[in-house]
């Protein structure tokens, strides 16, 4: 869709020669594919709100790591996965419930503000922009090692989602029948929440904690509007997320004033909006997928 156009644009070609852009592309591809796959099930299970709650946790976890001088990765992944599982325990049967999320996540955000204050006041040597970096992402600032790690974690999340995709679909759509057929419905619910947590932590690096929700929800929502075939929609969701990531990065490179997180989510939102212009039908969706 947008990417071939931007490939031809004059601002694009030199980008591929830039190490920071290469790193962003490598990391962004892994992150987007994982977010697309996880997002499909979030939308299907009506758990998008969980992703939102986890974005707050990602912010707080990262700032707690800064404030306490721990590794950012431990703060992000530890916080998100632990909190995702906690949501499952508090909600019924491995599904986090709206009231639980609503009452806890504003408190978590407040805790993040506390850690931010702690960090900026007590560690004077620290980076004053840390809060902004966590909130809005810093994908153009990744080292090659960080980019490779992000891509590998993304690939791992993708592999895990695909491994549980069929029983998770069964459990999401038809819980009682799935349980009767021996699908470990409750365990799958927790496995999925842990994957959402890992994905939120991972995506924080690219689009920032505030914008995770868009990357989880927009491609998946668009894919579900474009086709009624579940596994095609799953693939389409991942494909759209990756294409939107590339297009957003290219846009951000070509127009220097646009931060990458804005570029990525602008494209993602535009694609989701565009699905409302056509009637959601299976065949057209397949054609659109080929075009993308």
């Amino acid at each position: 869709m947008t990417s071939p156009v931007l490939l031809a644009a004059p601002g694009w070609a030199p980008a591929l020669g830039q190490p920071f852009f290469q790193h962003a592309l490598v990391a962004g591809t892994g992150i987007a594919a994982a977010a697309g796959l996880v997002g499909y099930f979030l939308v299907l299970r009506a758990q998008v709100f969980t992703g939102d709650a986890l974005s707050h946790v990602a912010f707080t976890g990262a700032l707690a790591a800064f404030a306490l001088g721990a590794s950012l990765r431990i703060g992000l992944y530890g916080g998100c996965i632990a909190f995702a599982l906690l949501l499952g325990v508090l909600g019924k049967r491995g599904r986090a419930d709206d009231v639980v999320i609503g009452s806890v996540f504003s408190w978590i955000l407040g805790l993040g503000a506390f850690f931010l204050t702690l960090y900026t006041t007590s560690r004077s040597a620290g980076n004053g922009n840390a809060g902004v970096g966590v909130l809005f992402g810093s994908i153009f600032g990744l080292s090659s090692g960080q980019a490779l790690t992000a891509a590998l974690v993304g690939a791992g999340i993708c592999a895990a989602v695909l491994a549980v995709a069929r029983p998770l679909l069964f459990a999401s759509v038809d819980e009682a029948v799935a349980a009767a057929r021996g699908v470990p419905v409750r365990v799958l619910g927790f496995v999925f929440l842990a994957l959402v947590g890992a994905c939120a932590a991972e995506a924080t690096q690219a689009v920032g904690s505030l914008l995770i929700l868009g990357l989880l929800a927009a491609p998946a929502g668009a894919a579900q509007r474009m086709t009624v075939r579940p596994f095609l929609a799953l693939a389409l969701s991942a494909g759209l997320a990756v294409a939107e990531m590339w297009a957003g990065l290219a846009m951000s490179y070509a127009v220097p004033k646009t931060p990458p997180s804005f570029g990525i989510l602008a494209v993602a939102t535009a694609v989701y909006g565009a699905t409302f212009l056509r009637k959601p039908r299976g065949r057209r969706a397949a054609a659109a997928a080929n075009a993308a």
């Binding site: 019924k92 491994a163 069929r166 029983p167 819980e175 009682a176 029948v177 009767a180 021996g182």
Partner: protein, 293 residues
């Protein structure tokens, strides 16, 4: 609690599909029912009847192995309940699918075929062709071919119910456990779905155990009924169990059984006994917690 008037069971040479011996179930510290004896032979059509909140759905959950029996012996297809896997088809007491669910009827039937396997289906495999053939066949069998390709949330209640019966049937189960399949259907659809289940039972030799709220739509097709009432139960052929005297005793309120001019039984004055606990249509998420009904 004493067992009430269990009729002598015919001695069958073949192993029964379902065998309950003096089974009792406790949920949340309360005995829902006890002293239930039941032998269901292959190809029989059995209804589980009783007032609201008495634990009819719990009986189905016992047969699925999801709810343990407190005492007594339960055998399903010759083994412990819950071990028969795809040899048992299950239709839970149902909410309808969300209207926004973007999935076709065929996809829901497909989940019954291989939804319990790990991974994702591979395109163009031999397994996929076999799955397609069987799914098309079973959808044709329940008469859902006309709307199986529409998003299931946009199908009517009767259409969804047929698709879900197809989902339960797709692996060719030997035992079909149906929990209130006629609930929330209008009268023509009740009759149509009841006759579909009757045909499947008769023509394909599938044993059917069906929880029902209202016995009349299925009464003519039944081989055996189980009446659950507070504390006790009665099972046997309909002609023996469905009598004014037995039902009046079980419900503790006057119930009359009438015979129509063509010989069919009709139950009149069956009380809508108030559920002792939650609503009969409890939230589906609580299903496994074993709420009564």
């Amino acid at each position: 609690m004493a067992r009430q008037g269990t009729s002598p069971e015919p001695v069958s040479a073949a192993a029964p599909v379902v065998a309950l011996q003096d089974v009792a179930v406790r949920v949340g510290g309360r005995t829902l029912w006890s002293g239930v004896d039941l032998r269901v032979g292959a190809g029989e059509f059995v209804a589980v009847l009783g007032p609201n909140g008495v634990g009819k759905s719990t009986l189905v959950k016992v047969l699925l192995g999801v709810q343990p029996a407190h005492e007594g012996r339960v055998r399903v297809l010759g083994g412990a309940p819950g071990r028969a896997g795809e040899r048992v088809g299950y239709l839970p007491q149902r909410r309808s699918f969300d209207a926004s669910l973007r999935m076709r009827g065929t996809d829901v039937v497909r989940l019954g075929w291989d939804g319990d396997r790990w991974g994702v289906p591979l395109p163009r495999s031999r397994a996929r062709r076999a799955a397609r053939k069987r799914i098309a066949e079973v959808i044709e069998r329940v008469g859902a071919a006309g709307y199986a390709h529409r998003p299931i949330g946009q199908c009517s209640g009767g259409e969804q119910q047929r698709l879900l019966i197809a989902q339960a049937l797709v692996r060719r189960p030997e035992l079909l456990l149906l929990d209130e399949p006629l609930d929330s259907l209008d009268l023509p659809n009740q009759a149509a779905v009841a006759s579909l289940i009757g045909r499947i039972c008769r023509e394909e030799g599938v044993t059917v155990v069906m929880v029902a709220h209202d016995v009349n739509p299925i009464l003519s097709r039944l081989d055996r009924v189980v009446y659950l009432a507070e504390g006790g139960a009665v099972s046997g052929p309909p002609a023996e169990v469905i009598t004014s005297e037995t039902l009046t005793r079980l419900y503790r309120t006057p119930v009359e059984v009438l015979r129509t001019s063509d010989g069919r039984l009709v139950v009149v004055g069956q009380p809508e006994a108030p559920a002792r606990h939650s609503d009969r249509h409890a939230d589906r998420h609580t299903g496994r917690d074993g709420g009564p009904a």
